[in-house]
Amino acid sequence: MNGGADAGAGDREALEAVRAVVLKPSETLDEERFPRIAGYDFNSGADNLLGLLASMASTGFQASNLGDAVTVVNQMLDWRLSHEKPGGDCDEEELDPAYRESVKCKIFLGFTSNLVSSGIRDIIRFLVQHRMVDVLVTTAGGIEEDLIKCLAPTYKGDFSLPGALLRSKGLNRIGNLLVPNDNYCKFENWIMPLLDQMLLEQSTENVIWTPSKVISRLGKEINDESSYLYWSYKNGIPVFCPALTDGSLGDMLYCHSVHNPGLLIDIVQDIRAMNGEAVHASPRKTGIMVLGGGLPKHHICNANMLRNGADYAVYINTAQEFDGSDSGAQPDEAVSWGKIKGSAKAIKVHCDATIAFPLLVAATFARKLQQKTNAASR
């Protein structure tokens, strides 16, 4: 029937129009820039750590960010001055290929004190023990919790333990960790004679103490291989902590100064040293690795601003940017300040560092050390 045929043509046109809107032809994606999503296949084995880590990059969401962070850190570790063309104003020595092969990226590692209370302290110790990082920045708790762990342990508790009950039992809660008051009493007994000694050296040997010098001394005195501060002292890796007074260390300094006054701690000398680490880093590239937000994150980024920005940056934290906080600010905000170069390789992993950092280290620092050890033992 003629009417039916016309109606059929009209329907087909309408259908074509709808199809064109709903099934708009897509651009083909270049898989170099947009890799396919694929997760780990456990048929390959349940104890294949490196295989699992390698699959992160293609799993999506924060696993992909972690995968990208692994890539950035490996680039940080693989870079040599020999990869760059020599600048026009190079000295003779700087042109020497052997020298250029020896110049590596300078890595700044920052972390908040809660991570030192957690088991991440042992991963930091591994990095420092093997001289895999160049400068550390943390808060007061990041110093004392490491020292206290050598005197008495921290325990696993629960976020929901009631505060008043814990107080009555002399237990301090850090998240789902517990630190007994007694640990801090042991710390007091250990540190007070050292503060007396430091005051004595200040008055008789004209020593000018700074937070990093105090920390180095404490690392020397604790003399315990489980402490990252001990290894920092041993390997000459500076640890900066401009807010040294904001923790149990500050309480100790307060009580000590009332009882035996006069100890001075110079933060100006330390900002010279910290910023100097960035300013005088060249011809080395610099890399930022910061766990958590707050002071350590800003202090490291700010120092790198003075050399017109870091070349690599990895943030691992759970802070968000909607409140304008520096803690939550993403690497691109730091680019606007000149703290990270516009051309830098930078990534933020939105994840609790207690999960992300061990995985990151496994796929980068630890893996490279293992490869080096395997090669050496052949």
């Binding site: 002399g170 301090n172 009493c185 007091e188 149990s248 009580c255 009332v258």
Partner: protein
């Protein structure tokens, strides 16, 4: 050991200690305490329970009983502090010498001549205004009262080997 060899005669036995130990947590306001080797009267005590700062602690604010300077100390509650023996003895004022030494009559009829009146200079260098005005008042009263021939009795405070006139009593005109 003869009595004449004693530099001063105090009621306390010369061999007794000048301080005695007391647990920090038991020392109260208005008691006495030794801070940085000075005998002090406690004007403020506060305690911090055991915590991140370590052992439970007592914060003491004391006033040096001789110089009126404010001194502070923080001591773990379980530690012992030194508490000074503080005694007050009354003596009748007999004479004031030209260089400011006073001659006092002791109980057994001897004279005690080793104390000075606080000089104007020493009062001006003291820190608390309240105390300066007190000492200046005492100084003035002693000088005027003595000049007028009044019978004066002075109170002498003694602690840790140091003595000072701290008050004046007027027992009436002669």
């Amino acid at each position: 050991m003869s009595d004449e060899e004693h530099h001063f005669e105090s009621k306390a036995d010369a061999g007794a200690s000048k301080t005695y130990p007391q647990q920090a947590g038991t020392i109260r306001k208005n008691g006495y305490i030794v801070i940085k080797a000075r005998p002090c009267k406690v004007v403020e005590v506060s305690t911090s329970k055991t915590g991140k700062h370590g052992h439970a602690k007592c914060h003491f604010v004391g006033i040096d009983i001789f110089t009126a300077k404010k001194l502070e100390d923080i001591v773990p509650s379980s530690h012992n502090c030194d508490v000074p023996h503080v005694t007050r003895t009354d003596y009748q004022l007999i004479d004031i010498s030209e260089d400011g030494f006073v001659s006092l009559l002791t109980e057994n009829g001897n004279t005690k001549d080793d104390l000075r009146l606080p000089t104007d200079d020493s009062l001006l260098t003291q820190q608390t205004n309240k105390r300066i005005s007190l000492d200046v008042a005492i100084l003035m009263q002693i000088k005027e009262g003595f000049a007028e021939g009044k019978d004066l009795v002075v109170s002498v405070m003694s602690a840790m080997g140091e003595e000072q006139i701290c008050a004046l009593k007027d027992i009436g005109p002669r």
